[in-house]
């Protein structure tokens, strides 16, 4: 059920070992005055660490909304979100920025790279925000480009890259400050199947290195490769199986 194979822990956690991600009763309501939309209607989810989780479900079932909340890109209307035991709802705005910078890396379906900057500068940006020196940044970025096998494209602009290459740059950027949680919202949605396979392979490698990877996907083949599948429907989790 909640086993994760890698660190040998099965079943319930010890009281003193806080889960990495712990959502309880998370609700999100969008109120546009005329219409009220309940995107999430009470989500409970616990992620212990070093897991590879696939989030599946039909469009509009709340998957992206939950990912945004976990990634601190949005705040829930109700419920509790604890990150490594700490209540995220109590974090200051600057603390949230720090979480997004160093504890979580987000990968988007449409890449979200800054088009006026080179691939290098895009990946460098989180390190800029983290206050690393010029040399530290250069070394780290060059290393990351090696990891995603794109070292020869560092000085190119995003417009000069293919979809698969852009997503690899985005993954490198997500990894810049060594977060241990990677969130990916339909990372292969805009890619052809070959590039898509390469990307998923990258995520598997990251998981094997000890990262926690949570990805939203429509593709059942990809979901099959995850160790745990969480199924969404109408704002609720209806299935959570390893």
């Amino acid at each position: 059920m909640f086993g994760n194979g890698k660190n040998g822990k099965n079943g319930a956690h010890d009281a003193g070992d806080a889960a990495l991600i712990d959502l309880k009763g998370i609700r999100k309501v969008y109120d546009t005055g005329a219409i009220k939309v309940e995107a999430l209607r009470g989500i409970d989810l616990t992620v212990a660490g070093s897991e590879l989780i696939a989030i599946v479900g039909p469009s509009g079932s709340g998957k992206s909304t939950m990912m945004n909340i976990i990634g601190c890109l949005d705040t829930p209307t109700g419920g509790s979100y604890r990150l490594k035991g700490e209540e995220v709802g109590s974090f200051s705005i600057d603390r949230l920025a720090e979480v997004r910078n160093r504890r979580i890396g987000f990968v988007f379906q449409n890449f979200n790279l800054l088009p006026q900057l080179t691939a290098f500068e895009n990946v460098e940006m989180p390190l800029l925000f983290a206050g690393r020196s010029t040399r530290e940044r250069r070394e780290r970025v060059e290393f990351l480009f090696e990891q995603v096998a794109l070292a020869d494209r560092m000085r190119h602009k995003p417009t000069e890259l293919s979809g698969g290459q852009m997503q690899r740059v985005a993954i490198a950027r997500a990894l810049a400050c060594e977060p241990n949680i990677i969130l990916a919202d339909e990372p292969t949605g805009n890619l052809d199947s070959t590039s898509g396979r390469d990307i998923i392979h990258l995520f598997e490698e990251l998981w094997q290195k000890g990262h926690t990877v949570v990805l939203i996907t429509h593709d059942p083949a990809i979901a099959a490769r995850a160790r745990r599948v969480v199924k969404f429907q109408d704002g609720l989790i209806v299935e959570d199986a390893a």
């Binding site: 910078n101 987000f106 449409n110 979200n112 925000f129 010029t134 950027r173 810049a176």
Partner: protein, 417 residues
């Protein structure tokens, strides 16, 4: 730092889209800056002109006219006329610590003749200290009256510059003989032209000055028309005035607090009031200039709001990868300030150029009003004020739009394609 490079790149792409709007805004800022530079420079010129004008009469002095008692004192009834004698000048200088120098004046209207020109002008008999106290400096080639003139009761005369021009035209007056009434006097000096604010008995440029002893010998006068003294420091003028009244009150038996016994014109106080008025005027000009600049600032804010809107997605991405609010707001404020300073630099350059041109014009126009106005001066305080205003403007114009930029959750901004 590389973040500056990144900011510059992001700004450049936004600038490309709004080229026309940016050009107009920069022009508006330049215009506002020119206004501020001109207004403040004229204010500074006026202030300096007034300062010089006050120094023209004399620095830190008080002028006394003898009066009439209004209070009974020491058995004397009120309504007694008080008269001063030349010895009182030495008396106050010696008896009052706060008075460092003093001079007496005796006045007369007299006919002055040279060649075919005959004028009727004010003639003053004064002590030697008058020259320094009342800012009568001699032009090169001449001198003011000295101790020797006083002791020997010499027939020497010092002319105001306008009087000298009227009497001698373009001829050099020093060394010439002038008839004062029927007596021949030698001209020893002509006054340097000066700006004079405040006068009594007419402008200094229009009168003639001879030694007091000579004056007494010629006209047999006993009493002074008035007395002038200088306090050791402007702050001590109040004490000097009080002590002066005490010393003379003791000699002439009048109540030291009797304001009518001696008429005192405290130029220190008058100058202080003048300075306060000047500060008020400068403030007023500064506010007008600032308001003009503000209009340009509104243009900058307008652009920044558009930049923020255009960059909603980019800003959201930056926040999603961990940018703190300070970074986003800071870079937007930097861009606004950059715009402001470009306009400001253009404005200052053109403004300073205009100031130089107008200063030249002012120096050439011979009207009294223009001379009083003074040459517009782009001084350091004016420059600093202008730069500070521009900086503040850039800061504000960037701050409010940037606050809006960081107020939205990244998820919302990223939602739209």
């Amino acid at each position: 730092m590389n973040s500056l490079v990144v900011i510059a790149k992001l700004f450049r792409s936004a600038a490309r889209i709004q080229r026309k709007r940016m050009t107009m805004t920069v022009a508006a800022i330049a215009w506002g800056t020119i206004s501020i530079v001109l207004l403040l420079s004229f204010g500074e010129g006026l202030k300096r002109s007034m300062s010089a004008g006050w120094a023209g009469l004399g620095s830190g002095i008080a002028i006394i006219w003898p009066g009439e008692t209004s209070k009974a004192f020491a058995g004397f009834p009120p309504g007694r006329g008080i008269q001063l004698v030349p010895e009182d000048v030495d008396l106050v200088v010696n008896a009052v610590d706060e008075i460092t120098a003093a001079t007496g004046e005796m006045r007369n209207n007299q006919q002055l003749v040279w060649g075919r020109t005959s004028l009727n002008k004010q003639l003053l008999g004064v002590h030697v200290a008058y020259g320094e106290l009342r800012n009568h400096r001699a032009r090169p080639g001449g001198r003011f009256l000295d101790e020797l003139d006083m002791r020997a009761k010499r027939r020497v005369i010092f002319l105001g510059d306008d009087l000298a021009k009227e009497l001698f035209g373009s001829h050099e007056p020093v060394g010439e003989t002038v008839l004062v009434g029927q007596s021949p006097f030698t001209v020893v000096g002509v006054m340097q032209t000066k700006k004079q604010m405040g006068m009594y008995g007419g402008p200094d440029a229009d009168h003639a000055v001879i030694p007091l002893t000579t004056f007494q010998a010629m006209y047999g006068r006993r009493f002074l028309s008035n007395l002038v003294f200088r306090a050791s420091a402007p702050e001590l003028m109040g004490v000097a005035k009080r002590r002066y009244n005490e010393v003379l009150g003791a000699k002439y038996k009048f109540d030291p607090t009797d304001e009518r016994a001696m008429s005192v014109w405290d130029t220190v106080k008058t100058q202080a009031t003048g300075r306060k008025i000047m500060i008020g005027i400068e403030l007023f000009l500064g506010i007008i200039g600032a308001l003009t600049l503000l209009i340009g600032g509104v243009g900058v804010a307008n652009i920044m709001y558009a930049v923020v809107k255009h960059r909603t997605r980019e800003i959201a991405i930056q926040m999603a990868i961990g940018a703190r609010r300070v970074y986003i707001m800071g870079s937007l404020v930097l861009e606004a300030t950059f715009l402001t300073f470009i306009g400001g630099a253009i404005g200052i350059t053109v403004g300073v150029g205009l100031v130089q041109i107008l200063a030249f014009v002012q120096s050439k126009v011979k009207s009294q009003a223009m001379q009083f106005l003074g040459a517009p001066t782009f001084s350091l305080p004016v420059a600093v004020t202008t730069v500070l205003l521009l900086g503040a403007l850039g800061l504000l114009a960037g701050y409010f739009p940037s606050r809006r930029a960081v107020s939205v959750h990244p998820a919302e901004a990223l939602r739209y394609e």
